[in-house]
Each structure stands twice: as structure tokens, then as C-alpha cells.
């Protein structure tokens, strides 16, 4: 019996050793690694905690929807026709610069990701760009909208690609809308001549994002010699929740409209406090990041008549193929997470597709090669309307170009919320811009 036990143990040890050798042999017999047999690691930098967690969670979940779709379709199609699977790894920037630095460093050095996607706050994203430059990892920024992301010259930004409109772009676009649509409507309401200067007030976050909008508006007015007079330019601290005093100052300047450079958690209270507490019954124009479901919920009936510059909305889309693609994305996302994706989620969804396409085109994860693939990239638009229906990056600052639109909100009493209708440009619009009956134009007196 004793010998039998010893024999069994020896046999087990021998079997284990043989198995180990077999495995070792199998491992060493593997052919040299090709991309088609590995996993492509995509790092997603998003604010999962902290003040921007609402948007950040949306970005991370949208990236997952994209990766799942790509993998379900067989994976990334490589140059030689073979396939590779995507693996997402998230880095939480904690909505802070230090958190962003930590997340980027971990993804690059510990997780050894092949490419990065994400980034929301411009202040946070710009804080860890030095790390991106140092390790030369291709990074598709899908949320931070300050142009400094790729325009800055103090560090090498050549590995950074900007897949969201910058404050320069939409600040200019919104200002042109004011000049071409809002100004004539106000003049018509007042019965004044077309040369009456339009009285515009700015209320913006005291950050790169808010100041970027301020600069864009000022530059657009000067460059195009627009008949718009900036009657008030007020700033506020990021994350502020009580805007009544600044709004009192804005109201004292008698504006025809107010352009807000604010995040959704600021934009909704600004408009609510302005209309409810201050009696500032004017048109509020908002940056595109406000076009999300939480904003519509928070603003309630006070959003009536407000305008949002947009490229993706939870509640509307320009007619055509993009609308169908957006609806599919929204439904897939809703089925999985029970909510609808927002704009930053949409561009992050596309960011994963762009990453997959660039790596697929080269058939390698070599970072310099992937970077060049992004420079040379020309791929069909995914879910957002792009210029020429193509996603590509400009040769100077590596920025993609979106087709933007302006939408105006109207109150739906059944829902208890406002819903948007596209009012500009003419080729996309679904309804006309109107001045609400309660609207009060500014006066110089």
C-alpha cells in the first residue's frame, strides 16, 4: 500500500513534469508573433470619477460598444486580410490633472497600450500631453476641445490627433449663426434697420475651454467685420453653481443674446437662474458639449428657445445615412447601459474605429508606423457627419473636420423637457429659428 502511494505520487509528478515540458515546447514552437495572432491594446482615458464623471463614463461605455462591435464583426481587418481582436483598457483621469497624468503613465508603461483614445477636459488633457510626447504613443483625443491640444509648441504634439471640433471652430460657427440668423430675427422683431449693432454678452468658464470660446468670438467678429458688439464678457470658476451675480451684471448690459462657454453642469443652472431668478429673458447660445440628456433633464422648461451648436444630439439627427448609423449606436448603447450616449461618447466611439482602422491599414502596432497611418488616414464617416463624409486629419494640426449644425430647443409639456430641432444650416435644418414670445431684446439705453 505504502509503495503504491509512492508510485502514484511519482507518476503524478512525472506527468506534471511531462505536461510542463510539453507546454514549454508548445510555447517555444510558436511562430514569431504577428499582429493577426495578438490583441491590440487600446487605452481609453476618461473621467470615471470626479466632476466630469458623467461625460467620462459615457465615453468609456461608448468605447466598449465600439470595441464589441469591431470584435463581433471578426476583429480589426489587417492589411493582409487577417483579423486581430481589440482589448480596451481604461484609465481614470479622476477629472484632475494629476489623475490624468497618473492614468496616461499607467496605460503606457504598465499596460503597454498600442494606442490611446479619449480625453475630455482640455486642462486635464493638456497636463499629460508631455507624457504622450515622451513615449510617442499615438493618441486620438475625442473630447478636449481647446485648440491648444495640438497647436501648442512647447512640447511635441505630433503623436496627438484631434477628433472633435475645437473652440476655434465652433466659436466661429456660432458667431456666424448669430450674425446670419439671430441678428436679422431681432432686427425684424424690433422693426429696426439692418445696421443696428447686435448686442452680444459672453459668460464663460475661466479655463482654456471658456477662454477659447471668448477668443474665437472676438476674432470672428474682428476678422469678418461683423456688426456685433460685445456688451459684456463675464467669466466664472469651473464647477461654479451660483451664477446670479454675474447674470445680474450681464442683464445690466442689456444684451440681445448671451453666448455661454460652459459645461452642462454649469449651462443648465446658468439658464435656469437667468430666466427664473434674474428675469433675463433672452436667447442663450450653448457650446456643443451641452447637447446631452442630463442637460435637457436639468434645464426643464427654462431651456425653451435656447440654442445649442451641435454635431451629435441624443434627440435629433440630420436626415440620411448618418441618422441611421446614430440610431443604431444609440439603441445598442441603450440596450447595454440603459441610458443614451452623449456627444463625447459618439466621438470616442469613432475614436476606437479610427484606431482600429489605422492599425489595420499598417498591420502593425509599431507606434511610428501607426502615427503615419493616422496622418495618411482617409476613412468613411462613422456616425457623425464629417466634411466630405470622410474622416481625415489636417496636415498642420492633425484635426478632423466635422459638419456642424445649430439647434433650437422647444418645450414639450408631455415630457416636461425641451427637445431640439435643427435650425441651421439650411441644408440640414428641420425647423426655423424663432424668437420666443417672451424674448426681450437688448437696448443701448
Amino acid at each position: 500500500m505504502k509503495y503504491s502511494a509512492i508510485l502514484i505520487v511519482l507518476l503524478l509528478v512525472a506527468a506534471a513534469l511531462i505536461a510542463g515540458c510539453s507546454q514549454q515546447q508548445a510555447a517555444t514552437q510558436q511562430p514569431s508573433t504577428t499582429l493577426s495572432q495578438t490583441v491590440i491594446k487600446v487605452g481609453v482615458i476618461a473621467s470615471l470619477t470626479g466632476p466630469a464623471s458623467n461625460v467620462g463614463t459615457n465615453m468609456w461605455q461608448s468605447a466598449q460598444v465600439a470595441a464589441d462591435k469591431i470584435n463581433a464583426d471578426g476583429g480589426v481587418t489587417l492589411k493582409d486580410g487577417s483579423k486581430a481582436q481589440l482589448k480596451l483598457i481604461v484609465g481614470d483621469d479622476e477629472s484632475t490633472q494629476q489623475g490624468g497624468q497618473k492614468a496616461a503613465t499607467k496605460l503606457i508603461t504598465d499596460d503597454k497600450v498600442d494606442i490611446l483614445v479619449g480625453g475630455y477636459s482640455s486642462a486635464v488633457t493638456s497636463a499629460y500631453e508631455q507624457t504622450i510626447a515622451e513615449y510617442k504613443v499615438p493618441y486620438i483625443v475625442t473630447g478636449a476641445s481647446s485648440p491648444i491640444i495640438t497647436h501648442r509648441t512647447d512640447i511635441d504634439t505630433s503623436y496627438i490627433f484631434h477628433h472633435c471640433p475645437t473652440t476655434d471652430t465652433y466659436g466661429q460657427y456660432t458667431t456666424m449663426f448669430i450674425d446670419q440668423v439671430v441678428r436679422p430675427a431681432v432686427n425684424k422683431k424690433l422693426g429696426t434697420s439692418a445696421d443696428r449693432p447686435f448686442r452680444l454678452a459672453l459668460l464663460f468658464q475661466d479655463t482654456a475651454f471658456g477662454k477659447g470660446i471668448q477668443t474665437a468670438v472676438n476674432d470672428t467678429i474682428t476678422k469678418n467685420k461683423l456688426n456685433i458688439q460685445l456688451v459684456s464678457q463675464q467669466s466664472f470658476r469651473m464647477g461654479e453653481s451660483d451664477f446670479r451675480t454675474q447674470l445680474t451684471a450681464v442683464k445690466a448690459s442689456n444684451p440681445d443674446a448671451v453666448y455661454l462657454g460652459a459645461f452642462p453642469n454649469e449651462g443648465a443652472p446658468i439658464i435656469t437662474q437667468a430666466r427664473r431668478d434674474i428675469g433675463l429673458n433672452t436667447i442663450f447660445l450653448n457650446a456643443e458639449n451641452n447637447d446631452n440628456a442630463q442637460f435637457y433633464k436639468d434645464i426643464g422648461q427654462y431651456g425653451e428657445g435656447a440654442v445649442i451648436e451641435s454635431r451629435y444630439s441624443p434627440y435629433t439627427a440630420p436626415a440620411g445615412a448618418v441618422a441611421d448609423a446614430q440610431n443604431t449606436f444609440k439603441q445598442t448603447y441603450f440596450t447595454r447601459f440603459g441610458t443614451y450616449p452623449d456627444m463625447m461618447g459618439a466621438s470616442t466611439y469613432e475614436g476606437v474605429f479610427i484606431a482600429a482602422k489605422a492599425i489595420g491599414n499598417t498591420g502593425t502596432t509599431d507606434k511610428a508606423t501607426v502615427r503615419q497611418a493616422l496622418v495618411d488616414l482617409k476613412m468613411p464617416q462613422v456616425i457623425e457627419a464629417m466634411h466630405d463624409k470622410t474622416i481625415s486629419f489636417s496636415p498642420d494640426f492633425r484635426e478632423s473636420t466635422f459638419d456642424l449644425w445649430m439647434e433650437q430647443l422647444s418645450y414639450n409639456a408631455t415630457l416636461g423637457e425641451t427637445r431640439p430641432g435643427i435650425v441651421w444650416p439650411d441644408n440640414l435644418k428641420t425647423t426655423d429659428f424663432v424668437l420666443p414670445s417672451w424674448y426681450v431684446a437688448g437696448s443701448s439705453s
Binding site: 445680474t248 443652472p269 431668478d277 426643464g300
Partner: protein, 292 residues
């Protein structure tokens, strides 16, 4: 709007902001006065109070001005537990321990709230949303009048509690001389628990009034108000409740005046500029006594 109207409106917004600060700072001062502890996590009790009121409001639809009482009672309980489990063991072991403990509590409460309620911004619509009341030449929202009335009522109640009840008098005695209070037979540990709970309940009232005014809130909302509350109690004088009231009002008025005259980015800075001036000119604060 004429210049007088604008001036009055800024004063009004300052008074409203001052009400929130007064409640927060008075609670903090009550705790400091009795226990002499520095609790940087006081803003988190404001946040918890806000969430409790909001949750009950969302679930039941009961008027949030009525829920304020319940929210204050819950925070008395939470405050008592925190005092008993966290602060009492380290009482008298040095300010550094208190500071690190309270910083730890900030993270625990913030992350706990984020786990329970999520960390996206939320807002509450008051039942009186959109109703305005004529006050002189101004039309001001009814909610702000109610906020000022509630603050006054709570402060009057606190005054009566401290001056007319036995426990209130024991709290004042402990605040004035802890050893003396022990010698005359006051159970100072019991007074510590009550003071801490009461201070937290005032923070809960501030949190409730914060949200009914239409301001958005999330788990991280308490940090800045807590810092300002500290500035207020230093400004008014450590341990002085009248100082906290005057300091809170001054802070609210100064912030809103600066935001109007100098711009929104000066809103926070002005409070600390005033604080530095007061500390240089009168280091004990406006109503403080030497030795605090």
C-alpha cells in the same frame, strides 16, 4: 434696471449666499467651540444632508422644506457616530491627527456618496420654483425668502437651545472651560456627541437650502464651502457663534460684490483677501477672544 436696483439685487444674492455660509460655519464653530477639533470634512455633512433631502424628495414628493427637519435629525445621528468612532479616540492627541482624520473622512464620504447616489450632477426643483415676490423695487424668488426665513428660524432655535435648555447651558460651559465643566459634573463626552451631531445637522440644513435654491449638487460639492466655512469662523472669531453669523454674511456680500465689480474669478479669492486683512489687523477675528 437702474443702478440702485442692481445694487439691491447684488446685496440680495449676497444675503442668500450668506445664509448657507452662516449655517455651515455656525455648525463648524459649535463643534470647534466645544471640542476644539478641526474637522475639514464638515462640507461633506452638507453634501450628505443635500442628498438625503433630495432622495426623500424624489421618492416621496414631500415638500423639501419639510424634509429639512428629517435631514437634520439623520445628520445628528451620523454626526454622533462619526464623533464616537473617529474623533473621540484621537481627541487631545494633536491637531495633525485631527486634520489627517478629517481629510480621510472627506474621501470616505465622497466615495461613499458616489457609490450610493452616483457622481453626476443632480438638481432639485422646489415646489415654489418660478414664484416671485415683490421686495421693494425687486421681484425676488419665493425660495430665497424662504431660505432666509428658515435660516433665521434655525438660528433662533439654536439660540434658545443654547440659552434656555440645560444641555445648551452645559455645552456653553464646556465651550468656555472644559476642565471646569468636568469638575462641576458635566458629562463632557456626552456634550461632545451632542455638539458634533448638532453641528452636522446645521450643515444638513445648509445642504437642503442649497439644493432648494436650484443649485446643482454632486458628491464633491462640499469641499469649497467647507474651506469657506473655515475662513468665516477665523474671520468671525474661533468659537464665536455671533462671529460666524456676521462672518457668513460678510463673506456672502463680499463674494457677490467682487463677482459683480471685479469678475467671477474673484468670487472665491476676495473671501481670503478679507481673511488675510482681518488676521493681520485683528488676529483673533472680529469676535474672537485671545487664546482660541
Amino acid at each position: 434696471m437702474d443702478n440702485l436696483g442692481i445694487f439691491l439685487q447684488i446685496i440680495f444674492w449676497g444675503l442668500y449666499a450668506g445664509c448657507i455660509y452662516i449655517l455651515l460655519a455656525t455648525g463648524l464653530n459649535l463643534i470647534f467651540g466645544v471640542m476644539k477639533i478641526v474637522n475639514f470634512a464638515h462640507g461633506e455633512f452638507l453634501m450628505i444632508g443635500a442628498y438625503i433631502t433630495a432622495t426623500l424628495f424624489f421618492l416621496t414628493g414631500i415638500n423639501p422644506y419639510l424634509i429639512i427637519v428629517l435631514s437634520m435629525l439623520v445628520l445628528i445621528g451620523i454626526g454622533a457616530v462619526v464623533e464616537r468612532l473617529c474623533f473621540r479616540p484621537i481627541l487631545g492627541t494633536g491637531k495633525l491627527n485631527e486634520i489627517f482624520l478629517s481629510i480621510g473622512l472627506i474621501y470616505i464620504f465622497q466615495n461613499g456618496a458616489a457609490m450610493i447616489w452616483g457622481d453626476s450632477w443632480q438638481s432639485v426643483k422646489s415646489p415654489y420654483d418660478g414664484i416671485t415676490v415683490p421686495v421693494g423695487s425687486l421681484f425676488v424668488p419665493l425660495d430665497y425668502i424662504l431660505i432666509m426665513v428658515f435660516t433665521a428660524v434655525i438660528l433662533c432655535g439654536l439660540y434658545l437651545f443654547l440659552t434656555k435648555t440645560k444641555i445648551g447651558m452645559q455645552m456653553r460651559a464646556t465651550s468656555q472651560n472644559r476642565k471646569g465643566a468636568m469638575l462641576v459634573g458635566i458629562n463632557v463626552e456626552r456634550i461632545d456627541v451632542i455638539s458634533f451631531g448638532l453641528g452636522c445637522s446645521l450643515a444638513a440644513a445648509a445642504g437642503t437650502l442649497w439644493i432648494v435654491s436650484g443649485q446643482v449638487f454632486n458628491p464633491y460639492m462640499g469641499s469649497i464651502p467647507a474651506i469657506k466655512a473655515f475662513a468665516i469662523i477665523i474671520l468671525g472669531g474661533l468659537g464665536s457663534i455671533p462671529g460666524a453669523i456676521i462672518g457668513g454674511l460678510l463673506m456672502g456680500l463680499a463674494e457677490n460684490g467682487a463677482a459683480f465689480l471685479l469678475g467671477g474669478i474673484w468670487k472665491d479669492a476676495i473671501s481670503f483677501i478679507i481673511l488675510i486683512i482681518v488676521l493681520v489687523v485683528r488676529p483673533t477675528g472680529l469676535f474672537g477672544e485671545k487664546g482660541e
